[in-house]
């Protein structure tokens, strides 16, 4: 059961990291710098990833503790709710008929709609993880080999986004409502 939790946490973290990589890819493939709400959704995705990573890091001492699972689930759900708030707001901003939406759609849906689906799925997965603690007790298990690479990948994508958002915002505190260029290079 403990190993199942580690597999689920690793999968959860990597799905979120890959969503962030995909958002980064779309930013450069479509040549569309992310809007302020898009960046906030990325921040929420990073916060969501801290939940499963907390569980993986906590297991480095060789024990999967129910307390760590509960804390990780709580972190994931709280961050997911923030993401739902940000993405729902953006969906509602473009809900009028004939509104083209912001940015290019991917597989028929805009990125903020995909984000809303991702946040809801993340909350459901974390809730399921918490329900599963009914069958879990503190258990010693060999250190999980994917912890370091998962935490490093998350740190790397966060740093990449810091560089990207500084390039986009330039020396301003906030981003323009509809960014079209990177203000650090072309003020």
């Amino acid at each position: 059961m403990a190993r199942l939790y580690l597999i689920a946490a690793t999968a959860n973290a990597w799905v979120l990291i890959l969503v962030l990589v995909a958002a980064f890819g779309a930013q450069f493939i479509f040549g569309e710098p992310p809007c302020p709400l898009c960046v906030l959704q990325r921040v929420a995705l990073m916060l969501c990833a801290l939940g499963p990573v907390y569980l993986l890091i906590g297991q480095r001492d060789g024990e999967v503790a129910v307390r760590d699972v509960a804390t990780a689930g709580g972190i994931g759900i709280l961050a997911g709710l923030l993401g739902v708030a940000a993405s729902t707001r953006q969906v509602l901003l473009h809900i009028l008929p004939n509104d083209p939406g912001f940015g290019s759609p991917v597989l028929g849906l805009h990125l903020y709609t995909w984000c809303l689906i991702a946040f809801l799925a993340h909350i459901a997965a974390n809730a399921l993880m918490l329900v599963g603690t009914a069958w879990l007790s503190d258990q010693r298990i060999a250190p999980w080999r994917f912890t370091g690479v998962t935490a490093a990948a998350l740190a790397l994508i966060v740093v990449a986004n810091i560089v990207s958002v500084i390039a986009e915002a330039g020396l301003n505190w906030t981003l323009p409502e509809n960014p079209t260029r990177y203000l650090l290079f072309r003020p």
Binding site: A44, L47, L50, L78, L82, A85, V165, L175
Partner: protein
């Protein structure tokens, strides 16, 4: 810069988790509240509903 500060805070929380500081969870909550407060304060554009 503000968005970069939020992301930097996430990086700090991740570092605190990695090095086992007990403050990692309070730091996470602080970051979450800061981002949520910014989101709420930034809701200046009225939402248009079609129904």
């Amino acid at each position: 810069m503000l968005y970069a500060a939020f992301m930097l805070a996430i990086l700090i929380v991740l570092g605190a988790m990695w090095w086992g500081y007990r403050a990692s969870v309070p730091l996470f909550l602080l970051t979450l509240v800061a981002v949520a407060a910014f989101l709420v304060s930034d809701m200046t554009t009225p939402i248009r509903l079609s129904f």
